[in-house]
C-alpha cells in the first residue's frame, strides 16, 4: 500500500512561494493501476518525485509499504559522464543487485550496441530513452512510477515497452502520470486529475477524462 495524506509542496522562487501541490490524498493498493492526468506544469512530475521519495513534501505524510521504483521518465536518473554500462552498474549497486548478469538484457533491449560503452552524454534522446527503459526493467519493484513514458521513441520501441511493463509486469501496482488521456485510459483502473495543485479523484477513468476535458483540456 502507498498512502499520501494531506501532502503539500511549496517551492521558493524569485517571486515568492509557489504552492505546487495542495492537500493531496491518494492511496494505491498492490496491483492497482492509477492514472494522474494534468496539463504541463500541473505538478504531475513533482507528485511522482514525492511518491518516489526523491523529494520531500513541505507538509503531510507518505507511507510506502511496498517497494517503489524511481520515477521512470525517459532520460533522467543518469550521470552523463558515465557510460551506459557504468550507469547500469551504479544503479545495480545502489539497489543491491548484481549487474553482470543484466548486461546482456540491457544490451539487447536498448539496442545500443557498442554505444553502451560510451558516455551517456553522447547519446541522442532516443538512445537515452532506450537505455533508461532497459535499466528500469533490471530492478523489480512492487510499484512502478511512470512519468510521461510515451514522450520519446518510435512505435516499435513503444510496443516493446508496453509488453515489458504492462504484460510481463501486469500484476504490479503502477502510478502513471500523463497529459495524454488515451494512454491513461488504456492502462489504468482509475484516475485523478490535477488542476492548479489540487487533486480530483474518480473511480473510473471515463469520469476523470470528462472532468479533465472540462477543466484542463
Amino acid at each position: 500500500m502507498i498512502r499520501l495524506s494531506d501532502i503539500h509542496k511549496r517551492y521558493h522562487t524569485r517571486h515568492g512561494s509557489v504552492h505546487v501541490l495542495d492537500s493531496i490524498n491518494l492511496s494505491v493498493a498492490p496491483g492497482e493501476k492509477v492514472g494522474v492526468l494534468g496539463r504541463n506544469g500541473a505538478g504531475k512530475s513533482t507528485l511522482i518525485r514525492l511518491i518516489s521519495g526523491a523529494e520531500r513534501p513541505s507538509a503531510g505524510h507518505i507511507v510506502r509499504d511496498m517497494s517503489v521504483s524511481w520515477p521512470l521518465a525517459f532520460g533522467g536518473a543518469f550521470q552523463g559522464a558515465l557510460t551506459g554500462l557504468d550507469n547500469l552498474r551504479f544503479i545495480c549497486r545502489v539497489y543491491g543487485r548484481d549487474a553482470e548478469d543484466k548486461i546482456d538484457y540491457v544490451q539487447e533491449f536498448s539496442e545500443l550496441g557498442r554505444y553502451l560503452r560510451e558516455p551517456v552524454r553522447t547519446y541522442s534522446a532516443g538512445m537515452r530513452a532506450r537505455l533508461a527503459f532497459a535499466i528500469s526493467m533490471v530492478v523489480e519493484f512492487d510499484c512502478f512510477l511512470i512519468d510521461e513514458i510515451v514522450a520519446v521513441g518510435d512505435a516499435r520501441f513503444h510496443e516493446k515497452c508496453r509488453v515489458e511493463l504492462f504484460e510481463k509486469r501486469g500484476d504490479r501496482a503502477m502510478i502513471l502520470v500523463s497529459h495524454d488521456p488515451g494512454y491513461v485510459r488504456a492502462h489504468c483502473d482509475r484516475a485523478s486529475v490535477l488542476v492548479s495543485g489540487r487533486m480530483h479523484s474518480f473511480d473510473n477513468v471515463d469520469e476523470a477524462y470528462a472532468f479533465y476535458q472540462e477543466h484542463a483540456g
Partner: protein, 265 residues
C-alpha cells in the same frame, strides 16, 4: 527491501554502505577514468604536489626557523595541508553534477559528500604513507618517533577538513559566494595553517594569534609525534576537538536543511 517505509537500523546501514560504495566507483570513474594510470592518480596527484613543495623548500633551505630535516618537515607539513584543504574544494559544488542520481531515493546529499570525502582522505593518506615509506627507505627521513601520535594528529586534521567541507559544501547550495570566497581563503590559510613553520619559532604574540587556527594544533601534534623531543610543540587537542565538533554540528544542520530542498533533475 528498497522501498519499505521504515527499514531497521541494520538495513539502513546496509543501504548506506551500498550507496556510498556506488558513488565511490562513480567518482573514481568520472575523475580518473580508465585511461593511463587510472585511479592511481588518487594518490599520485597529491604526491606530486608534496614532492614539488619538498623540492622547493629543500632548494630554499626553508625550514622556516627550525633546524629539522627539511624533507620530513615538508612531507609532514604539506601532506597535512593537502588533507584538510582539498576536502572543502571537493564538496563545494558537488551536488549539482549528482542531481540526476538523486532520483534514486537512497542517494542523498550526505552520501555524495561522504563518497568524495572518503576518496579525498584515502588519496591524501596513501600519498603521505607512500612518501614517508619512500623517503625513509632511501634514508632522507627517519621513521616517526611515535606513530600513534602521528595517526591521531592525522585523524584530527581529517575531521577538521570533513566538517569544514560539509559546512561549506552545504552553504554553497544556498549561495554561490562560498565558491568565490573559498579559493582566496584556502590560499590565504596556507601560511596560517602551521604547515610551513613551527609555532615555537614564532614570537610570543604571533603564537597566541596562530593558535586560534584549529589545524595548527593538529599539525603541531603530528609533528611532535614525528620528531619527538627534538621540537617543542604547542597544541591543545581539546580546543581543536571542540572547534571540529562545533563545525560538524553546524555543517550537518545546514546539510539537513538543504537536503530537504534538493530537487533532482
Amino acid at each position: 527491501m528498497n522501498g519499505s517505509a521504515s527499514p531497521s537500523l541494520l538495513q539502513s546501514w546496509a543501504v548506506q554502505r551500498r550507496v556510498i560504495g556506488a558513488l565511490l566507483m562513480r567518482e573514481i570513474l568520472t575523475r580518473y577514468g580508465r585511461h593511463n594510470i587510472g585511479f592511481l592518480w588518487l594518490f599520485v596527484e597529491p604526491m606530486l604536489f608534496t614532492l614539488g613543495v619538498t623540492a622547493l623548500w629543500t632548494m630554499a633551505k626553508a625550514t622556516h626557523g627550525s633546524n629539522l630535516p627539511i624533507v620530513a618537515f615538508a612531507v609532514t607539513g604539506y601532506s597535512s595541508v593537502l588533507l584538510w584543504r582539498n576536502m572543502p574544494a571537493r564538496c563545494i559544488g558537488s551536488v549539482e553534477p549528482n542531481l540526476s542520481l538523486m532520483y534514486h531515493r537512497n542517494v542523498k546529499v550526505m552520501d555524495v559528500f561522504a563518497a568524495r570525502l572518503l576518496l579525498e582522505a584515502a588519496g591524501a593518506t596513501m600519498s603521505f604513507i607512500a612518501l614517508g615509506v619512500f623517503f625513509t627507505s632511501i634514508g632522507w627521513m627517519d621513521p616517526p618517533e611515535d606513530i600513534v601520535k602521528v595517526m591521531i594528529g592525522w585523524v584530527m586534521l581529517a575531521w577538521f577538513g570533513m566538517a569544514l567541507a560539509i559546512l561549506l559544501g552545504s552553504l554553497n547550495e544556498r549561495t554561490e559566494l562560498v565558491e568565490k570566497f573559498w579559493h582566496p581563503a584556502a590560499y590565504l590559510m596556507f601560511p596560517l595553517s602551521g604547515a610551513a613553520f613551527l609555532v615555537d619559532a614564532l614570537p610570543k604574540q604571533a603564537q597566541e594569534f596562530i593558535l586560534w587556527f584549529p589545524m595548527v594544533h593538529g599539525v603541531e601534534y603530528l609533528r611532535e609525534g614525528y620528531f619527538g623531543q627534538s621540537i617543542r610543540a604547542h597544541y591543545d587537542l581539546a580546543y581543536m576537538a571542540t572547534f571540529c565538533l562545533g563545525l560538524s554540528v553546524m555543517g550537518l544542520a545546514v546539510m539537513r536543511r538543504i537536503s530537504r530542498e534538493v530537487m533532482p533533475e
